[in-house]
Symmetry: C2
Subunit: 460 residues, 2 copies
């Protein structure tokens, strides 16, 4: 990683020098062998020089770089393009990339893009735009190779050679009937290994796994990953083939969804912008709501503590262990809820497993709780009582703390593992039931257990 | 999801009925059109009937199902196989899948597998097994299509048709010289669109992005995703082509690495087994170490509280707000650290961005802190003082709590955003610097701020 960072610095310096000294031919030679994603990543640090650099690239490479840029930079570039330049870039783009760009741009830029796309492209863009956000329809492309079942393999290859250059992938071809119903599919490998006069209908695969335009994009991406496919066909309600989702888009979707899950689990409202590109106000808006809710719900712990104020003044040392107890409770709950949330999202756990999960967490929490309690008892006797010379830390006080520890870990793990499953059952995103939420609930529970044991064992 | 679960139940019942009534032909007809991954997922719920079901499947499908099974079930099946059956399944497997299986099996099963693989397979397995875990070499396959640069397109197709059936992918072909150095690559699309007498050396792509056998598998998977490739060539230190990594394996690696990150972030030691397959003892072992460390480090908060015991008895109401303060501090820190950890792992943030990140979090935390403090002041005046009739909650006490809130959020966010970056810089996994770790540190800081403000404003 360090070496990569250094190489990047050197590259940036070289580019800036070439631009300053107007050595454009050399700059072009430097950029030509680079991968589009790498050029795009350099652009992010260049700012105003991007349009200039962009004009040096050959059309096709320029379009590939354009797709990889952040939407801010894309907008800036489109604003700087002449109409001819815009049309040239648009002609090189694949349909699904154009749709992605259009979705991110402000209205006036969208109008300009649509005006300069050819009529067929414009129709397809409008069609994909009408699918709801996060639906499979919104990430599919309509540029796939379709074949008829009566074709010979030779005719199929002719069709692929003729139409292939404009298609997103030719690795899988789809067989449709007159009404565009999906009836089979063929990998390019099957085609290559077949005889020239084989009939498509005889060699095509007819057990097809397809997804629906309105299916959630995450479900589709997971299916692609599960079945190790390079593309999945997308059909409408009448089983007519309307598009395909390719593996590269599926990977992007999975990455976005994981980021969203992780953000939810940290009590952040999800955004799809990179960290450093999100403004202060935007970040503030994403973070304050949950902080506020969780802060206000801590009122309960406040009420519990106020109610037991007298017990606490009778045995002031009890206060010293409250942060440790609530911390351990929170951490135990977080472990259980995180493990279950991930298992739910990978499809390893379902609602019907609830009892198995509870039984497992019950046993794990007993083991963890007893283990922690034993360690804590020893620590309180040696560190707090003996080393710190605190006579208030009696064995009985240590017993109260350790019994609470076992009870807290038990409750925390049971609450932590069941809330995400219940949340999913009633249609919420289980990721919300993560660390911060669980900690807030467990805080109150652990205090109630603490004071119960204190009253019982210390008689206060 | 619900509908899927119901379908699954029906399917399981049908399969169990067919097995009970020995209607094997019908069972076979039921299974044949299913995808391998779906058959494997059903196997997980069937138990002892799996070997029987397995024998009904045609060889190729059986092998594909075998690859998708969990390692426990694979081991059980291998134990139940006759030597001939084992050899038949092994012959159908791709090399990288065999290696994955061998890595998970106990020694006696591994020996049996190696004994029944053909000599060339055995050599390749042993070669891949020598690469360290998590290295690119350990996930690559050596079954790729290689071409020579002097070949014509026609000759290349002949070679693909002859060797293709045994290769993991033919979508990308690699061009090597006499010493097996990687000198170019060609997609099957380029080959199909070229003329039959074109020379490979003239049409191949020579700007190659390759990875090294010892590169981290996550880096390789991210590169594949970044460049939207279907496969990446893997070279040794002398730039000789030794294998390829395909996109389906890259997706699996990314998924595993995300699970590992999420587990680390929840203070769980990572394991690669699914949640319900992990035993109670194993789960306990994965969870106790961090719980223990974090519990013991809470000794500091205990010491701080003991030191300020007198202040607390002078103004007992202060205790009631400790959980709220430490909760809000923990949550604020979690938000910042999670956002930064994810940005680091996606490559959006580097060490050189540290100051930018700190400046951003400084401003965000001021906004959040002030906002929360204002809400909390109003809440304390209305709920705690007025509704709960608690005269101890004076405006001055509320001021102490709210000032602490601002200070805590500020510290929490600054600590939360910088620790992951520093951890990565010194070579630790930044994911460890997540919620539980940050909360434990912030707990002490927020208490110190609290008592500082209390002494200052309340004069205790």
């Amino acid at each position: 990683m360090l070496e990569q960072a250094r190489k990047r610095e050197e590259l940036l310096e070289a580019i800036e020098e070439y631009i300053r000294e107007k050595r454009y031919a050399q700059l072009r030679d430097l950029l030509l062998p680079m991968a589009p994603a790498d050029i795009a990543s350099v652009c992010a640090d260049l700012g105003e020089e991007v349009p200039l650099m962009f004009r040096l690239l050959p059309k096709e490479l320029a379009a590939e770089v354009f797709v990889e840029l952040d939407s801010d930079e894309q907008e800036m570039l489109i604003q700087s393009f002449s109409n001819t330049e815009l049309k040239e870039v648009l002609d090189e783009l694949y349909l699904d990339d154009t749709v992605d760009i259009v979705e991110e741009m402000p209205a006036n830029v969208v109008k300009r893009i649509l005006r300069h796309s050819d009529p067929e492209m414009r129709k397809s863009i409008n069609e994909i735009l009408k699918y709801p956000e996060d639906s499979t329809g919104s990430i599919m492309t309509t540029e796939f190779v379709d074949l008829k079942q009566s074709m010979t393999v030779e005719a199929a290859f002719k069709r692929i050679r003729r139409t292939g250059p404009d298609k997103e992938t030719i690795n899988v071809c789809y067989v449709i009937d007159e009404q565009r119903h999906l009836i089979g599919l063929l990998s390019i490998r099957t085609l290559l290994l077949a005889d020239e006069d084989d009939i498509i209908g005889d060699i095509m695969e007819t057990n097809i796994i397809s997804v629906h335009t309105l299916d959630d994009q995450e479900t589709t991406a997971r299916a692609l990953s599960k079945y190790d496919f390079l593309a999945l066909p997308v059909v409408d309600t009448e089983n007519r083939l309307v598009g395909i989702v390719t593996v590269d888009d599926a990977m992007d979707v999975l990455q976005e969804e994981v980021t969203e899950d992780i953000e939810l689990m940290a009590a952040i409202l999800p955004s799809d912008k990179p960290y450093l590109k999100t403004g202060v106000l935007e970040t503030w808006k994403a973070r304050t709501p949950w902080l506020m809710i969780l802060m206000l719900s801590a009122t309960f712990t406040g009420i519990i503590l106020t109610r037991f104020e007298n017990s606490l003044s009778a045995c002031a040392i009890l206060t010293a262990f409250i942060p440790m107890l609530s911390g351990t409770g929170g951490n135990s709950g977080t472990q259980a809820s995180t493990a279950v949330i991930r298992a739910l999202s990978l499809g390893e756990v379902r609602f019907s497993d609830l009892l198995r999960v509870l039984w497992k967490e019950f046993r794990v929490s007993l083991c963890c709780g007893i283990c922690l309690a034993a360690a804590n008892f020893v620590k309180m006797m040696i560190v707090d009582r003996w080393l710190m010379h605190n006579p208030e830390v009696t064995p009985l006080v240590a017993l109260v703390v350790c019994a609470t520890l076992v009870g807290t870990v038990l409750c925390a793990k049971l609450v932590g593992c069941s809330l995400p499953i219940l949340a999913e059952k009633v249609g919420f995103d289980p990721a919300v039931m993560a660390s911060p939420f669980i900690s807030t609930i467990v805080d109150s529970i652990s205090l109630l257990i603490y004071f119960r044991f204190a009253t019982l064992l210390l008689g206060i």
